[in-house]
Amino acid sequence: MDKSIFIVVPAYNEAAAIRSTIEELTDCGCSIVVVDDGSVDNTWSILKDEPLYAVRHPINLGQGAALQTGMTFALELGAKVIVHFDADGQHTAMDINSIVEPILSGHADVVLGSRFLRKADRAIVPPSRRLLLKLAVLFNGCLTGIWLTDAHNGFRALSRSAAQKIMIRENHFAHASDILTQIRRHRLRYVERPTRITYSTYSLGKGQRAWNAFNIVIDLFLGRIFK
C-alpha cells in the first residue's frame, strides 16, 4: 500500500505487545507513526528496532493527546490518509484496506470501525461490554447527534482534510466522543466499516474498565463548560 497512508499507533506502557502489533502493520506497506505517550517501561527502546517514525511525549498526557500528536506529525509529513490503530493488538491489520477504501474512493472523510456490523465480530465482544458499548452509543448519539453502531472503537481512518479540521482536545479517553462532535461540527461525511476485534487477557487488562465510562462523561461535561 501507499506510504502516504499513515497508521498512528498511540502507545503507553505497551512493551509486551507493541512489537507484534508493529510487525503485523509493517506488512501493509503504509507509514507507521508510534506515539509513545511517556511510557515508563521499555516501549521506546523497542521502537528503535522497527522501521517506523517514533515520537515520544516527555510526559504522559493521555491517549487522545497521543493521537493528536501522531496526526499533527503525519500531516507534516504529507499524509493523505491517517488511520488510528490501537497498540495492544486488538485490531487486525487486514482490516486496514477496507477502512481506508471509502476515503481513497472519495466516498467519505472519516471511516469509523465497528464491532457490531458483522455477527462474527459481535459474538467476540463479551455480553457485559456489549451492553456498556450500546449505552455509550446511545450517549454519543444524544450528545453529538451522530448515531453509530459502536462506540470507543479505536480503529478509524481520516482523510487529510478531515485530519486538518479535527483537533482532539480531550487528552484522555473522551477523545472518541470529541471526534464525533467535530465530525458533526465540520459536516464531514462518515461511514462505518466492520472491524474484527481480538480480546486477549492482555488487551482486556490494558483496555478501559467499565467504571471509566463515568470519568468520560464528567470529562465531556467539563469540556463543554470550560471551552
Binding site: A54, P58, A65, T69, N171
Partner: protein, 124 residues
C-alpha cells in the same frame, strides 16, 4: 476595639499589601479588592452593621450572612482556578507535542539499532 478586631484588621491590611506588591492586575480588579477590604474593615469595626444587613435580607445573624457569602465566593474562586488549570493543561499539551515532534525518530532506512534523531524531512 477587642483583640480579635485588631488581629483581623491587621491581617486584612497585610493581605492587601501582599496583593498589591506581588500580584499585578487590572484596574477593575484592584478597585474590587479595595472595596472588599474596606467593607471587611467596616464590618469588623462595627459588628452591628452586618447583623442589620442580615436582618434586611432575612438572615438571623450577621455571621451567618458572611458565612453564606463566603461559601458562594469560594465556589467562584474554585471555578476560576479550575479553568486556569485547564488552560495550563492545554498549554502543556501543546508544548509536549512540539517537543515530541521536534525529537522524532525515523528508523526506516537505518536498519537495526542505528538511531537518527531529528529526521523530519522538512514540511512536505
Amino acid at each position: 476595639m477587642t483583640p480579635i478586631q485588631i488581629i483581623l484588621v491587621v491581617l486584612l491590611v497585610i493581605g492587601a499589601a501582599l496583593y498589591f506588591s506581588k500580584l499585578r492586575s487590572l484596574l477593575l480588579d484592584r478597585l474590587l479588592v479595595v472595596a472588599l477590604i474596606g467593607l471587611a474593615i467596616a464590618m469588623i469595626v462595627k459588628p452591628g452593621l452586618t447583623t442589620r444587613v442580615a436582618n434586611w435580607v432575612g438572615v438571623g445573624r450577621g455571621v451567618d450572612l458572611i458565612f453564606y457569602l463566603t461559601l458562594v465566593g469560594l465556589s467562584f474562586v474554585l471555578l476560576i482556578l479550575y479553568s486556569e488549570v485547564r488552560t495550563l493543561q492545554s498549554r502543556l499539551t501543546e508544548l509536549t507535542r512540539a517537543v515530541a515532534i521536534a525529537n522524532s525518530r525515523n528508523t526506516h532506512d537505518s536498519g537495526h539499532r542505528v538511531e537518527e534523531e531529528r529526521t523530519m524531512e522538512g514540511n512536505v
